[in-house]
């Protein structure tokens, strides 16, 4: 009876964007994600925290099916976006990834010009009517990623020639240029100075107005600053998930508590 009601509520509340149930991920014999259930709300920022190797990136990659590209990876369970099972045979992963953008943990600009890096997605999906429209998208995306001032005079130089932090922002610009509904960001500020970090956090907050954002971070302060919900992963398990304020002030699980107070990690 109780179960029934909860199910109803899940379906009714239209602001659940991503819902995952019983997700298992195996890399060969390595059981990297163990039975994770999580519901990610629309128009919120959700932070994934947890010690290195606990499976944050792995779970993130399940949401846009990037694990498909890894031969040894095997995903089980049920992941729905807007109620649609993304692992269904009928779903085209290419379509899905256009909707679910991703910023990777390691900056990976293409060996093309800065301009072409940003214009890549819009060009593929035909988002711009003409050159002027494309220019506009590129400028807007670079501005949002706080890279415009540094890059505007060198748009034709290779993106691989930028510094590590600039590359990271270029990848953010590239991802937002395609206008995804969901943005997955894997440690987007790991190589950024405090000013650029603040700008990216501002961007994340701005994106929240229209999208849902999932961000992996090793910085507790950042999770506390930008996110409304926080999920704590440990050894492949989702240990605790709830309002960011609750997680940081009143953790229920002793593992969460020791992680955020710096005792494990």
């Amino acid at each position: 009876m109780n179960d029934m009601r909860r199910l109803e509520r899940d379906v009714d509340t239209s602001d659940i964007k991503i819902s995952a149930k019983g997700v298992q991920v195996y890399y060969g014999d390595n059981h990297a994600i163990k039975d994770v259930d999580v519901s990610i709300a629309d128009k919120t920022v959700t932070a994934f925290i947890g010690p290195s190797g606990c499976g944050k990136s792995t779970f993130l990659r399940c949401i846009n099916r990037m694990n498909d590209t890894i031969d040894v990876a095997r995903v089980e369970g049920d992941i729905r976006i807007d109620g649609e099972d993304i692992y269904d045979k009928a779903v085209d992963p290419v379509q899905l990834r256009a909707k679910v953008g991703m910023v990777f943990q390691k900056p990976n600009p293409f060996p093309k010009s800065i301009y072409d890096n940003v214009a890549y997605g819009p060009k593929i999906h035909g988002l711009a009517q003409n050159k002027a429209g494309l220019d506009e998208i590129v400028e807007k995306s670079l501005r949002r990623a706080a890279l415009w001032d540094e890059a505007k005079d060198r748009l034709n130089e290779p993106g691989t020639g930028l510094s590590g932090g600039q590359q990271q922002r270029l990848c953010i610009a590239r991802a937002v240029a395609t206008e995804p509904e969901i943005l997955l960001m894997d440690e987007p500020c790991s190589a950024l100075d405090p000013i650029a970090t603040a700008q990216v956090e501002e961007l994340i907050d701005e994106l929240r107005q229209s999208y849902s954002v999932v961000i992996v971070t090793h910085s507790m302060q950042q999770a506390a600053r930008v996110s409304q919900k926080t999920a704590f992963f440990h050894l492949g398990n989702l240990v605790e998930y709830g309002q960011t304020g609750d997680i940081f002030t009143n953790p229920q699980d002793p593992r969460t508590e020791s992680y955020i107070t710096g005792r494990i990690g």
Binding site: V94, Q95, L96, R97, A98, M102, N108, F110, T178
Partner: protein, 545 residues
């Protein structure tokens, strides 16, 4: 003592030196490794190096020098009047050496005692028959002075061998002792070993470079000879034209280059009143005839036209067809293998392609001659299936080009495969993560990233196509011709190099020497291509990190 045994002795001394050095190091450090500058094994290696390197060098030098010294000394003792009019001292010396070796063989196989060998007389016993028993065949009956020289040769050689053994072993022991004495706690054995390894590697590298330089120098030298003959011949033409009447009157008919024939030159000057001399202009016209001449018709009697253009055209045409076949197929195969194929398919297909690369080119030539040529004729030839009558015979540019293309497929595909695999997975992830399809990712990210490397691979394939010989000889025919029809027989630079130098060519004639000029041209072209390819490949490497 034979050089083989000597070598074994040095090596065993070095091995002993290694162990002695190791334990010596331990004992000077009174059993505590940490007191030593280097690990004990370095001290051992140090002794081994000092034992083996100087003595081995001495052995090699001795082995090179001794035969020269001995034979020059023996040669000076052979009286000049004993050499037959038709013979030379060199032939006599080779008789001497053969006899001396024959005696050695006979002694070592037990048909003669050492005493016998030393005391044989040319007349008293029939040496030929006795050596024949030992399996040594001598051409003519042995003359006393040859026998005497051979005996001298043997004595000198055996004394030399003995001295060699003494010196080499002496040096080895000296090196051993020297390095042993140097073994102390503070001695930097590790650095010495490091230096030796460095020298060894440097030596290997310099041998490779020196060989290249040697090859190039010999090519340049003979090419220069070719052009000076051609320049001289062109001056002969000029000279004949201007002094036609005078030369006719004197009944002189110049054909070869008169340089070097002083009497003839003097005669020419007195007949015509003009000294014969080769000018820069003649060189220029020789260069022009060679590099811009459109006819290739060598004739060993003289009056050949040696223009390289028809050959370059053939080379170019065949290579282009080969690349048109090899590049798309090879590249697509590489893309399939590296991007799409499942690992079982790859495990099967890659070795198959590599087998294709291992087939000797002569086999491809046979394939061209026996299969592809007739097949093409049956389609494009007289009464062919298409009724086109474009092709006269099985040997044609198309035949050779197609087969050469097949030969190059694995070359292009395995190089491109490596290059495509070197594009980081993160690059593909980035594109896929933006919602690009697999083939969009390949076209827009992977191939552009790999492009410089692929271009390099294609250029390397091109320089192989240009240098290929056997397929051309069997598949394209031997006619040098400037034609646009790909079904005509044509020939290439390499094929002509072979045909100019095979048979009983006179190596001082321009018709034979032209082969070196052709080789030099080809070398410059392929070198240029390779340098360009390497430049591009290297530039590509800098792109990631």
């Amino acid at each position: 003592m034979s050089s083989f045994w000597l070598f074994l002795i040095i090596v065993s001394l070095a091995v002993i030196g290694f162990f002695v050095g190791t334990s010596r190091a331990m004992s000077v450090a009174s059993g505590d490794k940490r007191k030593l500058h280097s690990l004990p094994s370095y001290y051992g290696s140090n002794i081994a190096i000092f034992t083996i390197v100087p003595s081995f060098l001495l052995l090699v030098i001795w082995m090179l020098a001794q035969p020269l010294i001995v034979s020059s000394s023996v040669r000076s003792h052979i009286p000049a009047d004993t050499i037959d009019p038709g013979s030379t001292i060199g032939l006599v010396m080779s008789d001497v050496q053969r006899l001396a070796n024959g005696l050695d063989v006979a002694v070592s196989q037990g048909f003669m005692t050492e005493e016998d060998a030393r005391s044989v007389q040319a007349g008293s016993s029939d040496i030929r028959a006795r050596l024949g028993q030992a399996g040594v065949v001598l051409g003519s009956s042995v003359r006393p002075e040859v026998l005497q020289a051979a005996q001298e040769y043997r004595t000198m050689t055996s004394t030399g061998d003995m001295l060699r053994a003494i010196f080499v072993i002496g040096i080895a022991l000296a090196g051993f002792a020297y390095a042993f004495r140097k073994t102390s706690v503070t001695f930097r054995a590790r650095n010495t070993v490091e230096k030796t390894i460095y020298t060894l590697l440097l030596g290997a590298a310099s041998i490779a470079i020196l060989t290249t330089v040697g090859i190039v120098l010999s090519l340049i030298f003979t090419t220069g000879e070719f052009f000076s003959i051609q320049a001289c011949l062109s001056e002969v033409d000029n000279y004949e034209q201007t002094h036609l009447a005078a030369l006719r009157a004197a009944d002189m008919n110049l054909q070869n280059c008169p340089l070097g024939n002083v009497a003839l030159l003097d005669q020419m000057t007195s007949v015509t009143g003009e000294t014969f001399s080769v000018t820069t202009g003649d060189y220029l016209s020789a260069f022009a005839d060679f590099f811009f001449g459109t006819t290739w018709s060598p004739s060993f009697g003289g009056g050949s036209e040696l223009g390289i253009l028809p050959l370059l055209w053939g080379t170019f045409y065949i290579s282009v067809i080969a690349l048109l076949v090899a590049v798309p197929i090879g590249l697509f195969a590489a893309i399939y293998l590296s991007e799409y194929a499942s690992s079982p398919v790859r495990a099967f297909a890659k070795p198959m392609l590599e087998v294709l690369a291992g087939i000797p080119t002569i086999v491809y030539g046979l394939f061209a001659l026996l299969t592809v040529g007739p097949l093409l004729v049956s389609a494009f030839g007289d009464d062919g299936a298409l009724g086109l009558n474009w092709m006269q015979g099985g040997t044609a540019v198309m035949t050779a080009g197609l087969v050469m293309g097949i030969m190059l497929i694995p070359f292009v595909s395995s190089l491109s495969d490596d290059i495509i695999n070197a594009v980081p997975q993160a690059m593909r992830d980035g594109s896929l993560g933006l919602g690009a399809t697999h083939s969009e990712t390949i076209r827009q990210v992977v191939l552009p990233a790999a492009l410089p490397g692929i271009v390099g691979a294609i250029l390397l394939a091109a320089s192989r196509a240009i240098g290929e010989t056997m397929i051309v000889v069997l598949g394209a025919g031997a006619a040098a011709r400037l034609s646009m029809n790909p079904f005509d027989a044509m020939t290439t630079v390499t094929a002509k190099i072979v045909s100019q130098l095979t048979g009983d060519a006179d190596f001082s004639s321009p018709e034979a020497l032209v082969a070196f000029a052709l080789g030099m041209t080809l070398f410059v072209i392929t070198l240029g291509l390779n340098v360009f390819a390497l430049y591009i490949v290297r530039k590509y490497r800098e792109q990631y990190e």
